[in-house]
Point group: C2
C-alpha cells in the first residue's frame, strides 16, 4: 500500500520543514504546519500565536500550571470540559489532523502527527535530525542572532518538543522505531531526503 | 569527506546483516561480524562461542555477576588486569575494531562499532529496524522454530543488545541521533537500504 500521508518530525534547525515543503511540492499535495495552527485557531477562537506556543512548545510543567491556574483562557473555551488549556488544544489538534488525513494525501510537519495518525496504514513517518554545529550555524543564518546562544536555543526548543511528545504520546522523541526513516540532514541533504521519502512513499516494501 | 567505514546496528531479525553484506559486496570491501568475533577469539584465547555470547548479549547483570564470581574465566585472561570477563572482552573488542577501521574501508555489523569509532570522521552509522510482526516472520523463516515464541525471542535479544549498548556506550540503543540513517527495512527493503547507504557514503553532504 503506497503511503499517502507523510509526517515529518524534526530537531530544531535541522531543515525538516524544508524537506517537508519539498516533498509536498514533488508530490503536489498540501503541506501543513502553520496552516494547521491557523485551522486550529479558527476552530477554537484562540489567538494564533498563543496556539503556536502552547501547541508545540508547551512543557508538562506549563500544562500543570494551566491546571493550577486555568485563568482567563479557560473562559474562552467553546466547549469547557474541564480540560487544561494545553489538553484542550491537544484534543482539537488531534481532530484537525485526523480530518486532514481523511481528506487526502498531504505532508504534515510536527504536531505529533506520527502519533495521532498511528492507526492509519497509509502514513510514512520521518524524523529529520542533524548534529548541533550544523543546526546552530543554520539557525543563525536563517533566523539571525538572539540573546541566547544558538546552541542554547536548540537545546531549549528540542527540550520542549521532547517533553511535549513524551507527555502526549508517551513515547521517546527521536527513537528510530517510531519512524520509518530517520535521516541526518547534514549528511543526506534536503533534496536527497525528499527524493528518498518520495521513493519509499510511492513504492514501500521489498 | 566520503565515508570509508560503515557501521550497522540492527534489531534482531530486521535484516541488518543482509544489508551489511550487500553494502560490503557493492563497495567491494571486507564485511565483519563473526569474523570480528573470530579475531577477538584468536587474540584472547577464549572459546569463540563464549565470546559471541558475552560480547554482544552480556547484560550489565551478567557483567556484575562476573565481577562477583570471576571464577575460572579470569584465570584464562592472557592479561589479568582485574577486569571482569565482560569488561576484558570489551577492551579487546574496542582494540580490534579500531585496528580494523585503521586498516581501510569496511562494513562492521553490531559490536557497538558506531560508538567505538565515534572519533573518526569517515564513519557512516546506520540503524536497521522493523516492526515486530515482520521480524517475527523473518526469524522463523530463517532460523526455524524454537521453544520460545518468535516475539519472545525478539524481545530477549533486543533487550540484551539495548542493555549492552547502554552499559558500555552509555547511550540509548536505537536513538536516531546516534546514527546518520535509521531505516525500517520492512518498508525500505534490503536492496534500497544498501543503495542508499552506498550513495550517502560516497557523496555525503548537501
Amino acid at each position: 500500500m503506497s503511503k499517502q500521508i507523510i509526517t515529518i518530525s524534526r530537531e530544531f534547525g535541522s531543515g525538516g520543514r524544508s524537506v517537508g515543503k519539498r516533498v509536498a511540492e514533488l508530490l503536489d499535495v498540501p503541506y501543513y504546519d502553520k496552516k494547521l495552527v491557523e485551522q486550529v485557531a479558527v476552530e477554537t477562537g484562540f489567538d494564533e500565536k498563543f496556539i503556536e506556543q502552547e501547541g508545540e512548545y508547551a512543557s508538562p510543567w506549563q500544562s500543570l500550571m494551566s491546571y493550577a491556574f486555568p485563568g482567563g483562557a479557560r473562559l474562552r473555551h467553546p466547549v469547557n470540559s474541564g480540560l487544561s488549556t494545553a489538553d484542550f488544544l491537544w484534543v482539537i489538534q488531534c481532530r484537525v489532523i485526523l480530518d486532514l488525513a481523511e481528506k487526502g494525501p498531504c505532508v504534515i510537519v510536527g504536531r505529533c502527527a506520527d502519533y495521532i495518525l498511528r492507526d492509519r496504514e497509509d502514513v510514512l513517518n520521518v524524523f529529520i535530525h542533524a548534529p548541533i554545529p550544523y543546526r546552530a550555524d543554520r539557525v543563525v543564518r536563517l533566523y539571525g542572532e538572539s540573546d541566547l546562544s544558538p546552541e542554547k536555543r536548540l537545546e531549549e526548543k528540542d527540550k520542549r518538543r521532547r517533553a511535549y511528545y513524551k507527555h502526549y504520546a508517551n513515547r521517546d522523541w527521536g527513537m528510530s522505531q517510531n519512524y520509518h526513516l530517520s535521516l541526518d540532514s547534514s549528511l543526506v541533504g534536503v533534496e536527497r531526503c525528499a527524493q528518498l521519502i518520495l521513493d519509499v512513499a510511492r513504492n514501500p516494501g521489498q
